[in-house]
Amino acid sequence: MEKRLEPRERFCGNCRYHNAYQYPDLILCFVRYQKNEDPVVSTFGCCGKWELKSQECFCLEEALRKRNEREG
């Protein structure tokens, strides 16, 4: 893979609580599930659990690429 993108915005794809639900677009958030909230969220969603440290996975990178391709 090419050079990794550093997060400049708050995204669920950067959260350490995320699990792939529909890679790379949707995430299952167990924190939301425990709070009885809809646990399936967009990779581009965010909440107060967000951390600046980038995750090692490609979720966000691939979701961003897909979005850029869609938007031409």
């Binding site: 699990n19 792939a20 890679y23 299952l28 996975c57």
Partner: protein, 330 residues
Amino acid sequence: MKREDFLRETVIPMKLRPKMTVNQLIQEFSNSGCFGAGRLSSACDIFERMVRDEQCTIFLAVAGAMVPAGLRAVIAYLIRKKLIDVLVSTGANMVHDLVEALGGHHYKGHWFVDDFLLYKYHIFRIYDIFVPEEAFTKADKAIMDMFDEIAKESEGHSLSSCELMWEIGSRLNDPESILRAAYEAKVPVFLPAIRDSEFAFTYWVHSKRHPAGDFLKVDTFKGVSEIINIMERSSRLGMVVLGGGVPRNTVQHAALMAEKGLDYAVVITMDRPETGGLSGSTLKETVSWGKVKEKADKTMVIGDALVIFPLMVAAVLERLGEKLERRSVG
């Protein structure tokens, strides 16, 4: 013994020909009678005798990634045909059954791969099988939703792993699912190490959602009396083991506690006895515990269960033909 007693049966060279059936190949293995070929042909004979013995309750013990590797439909078929009466499994195999029942898949992969790259793509590896994480998370969510529903229905009453598996099976629609087949055929499914699987993680998350304590209650010890009761009601006991581990010992130990011992046993494993681990322990060693009868019809096949077990089942199905109607003992 006299000298001639050692020299009674000659090795008959195998003969292969086009369009041989599986059972015909096994017969050639029997003619050889040596090494793995001889043991596999014995395993087929023992499994056939177990099935034909109308007084025998057959326990299938499954450990290792048998369901991810493709044995799911074979086990469901055996359940539906009543060729096994009780299934004892690792929790993981039933989780993988759920993964597929809910539309997920396991993929043909490779062991020679960059595992950290897989990690970054949210893909898990089981030797040469790949499983995308989303297959698990979708199963997790479905299991947790089922736990919520079952907890509400059971009103604080504790369920055994067996009762829980039937509850889950009743909520599935996939006819190739082991749990669905077991629910429909009323074949008990014991998960003695249920907490050592994804069921445990989902249970933990489910319980966190119910701080008032109205979460699902699972009593793992309840299964002990359930499996012993089945054995006490049975005239004869048969065991087929894929791998070993906790499922194998659950069957063997229950046979001991029912004060019976197993009458038939086929163990398919790659494990060795020298480490003292149960999976590699010989059936001769098992006799010393009283878990298998000294005169039991038994053999241990050293080999990959994913190869050996389908060959054994296919050969025995061929011998039984389509007309076999075996009653359910369990």
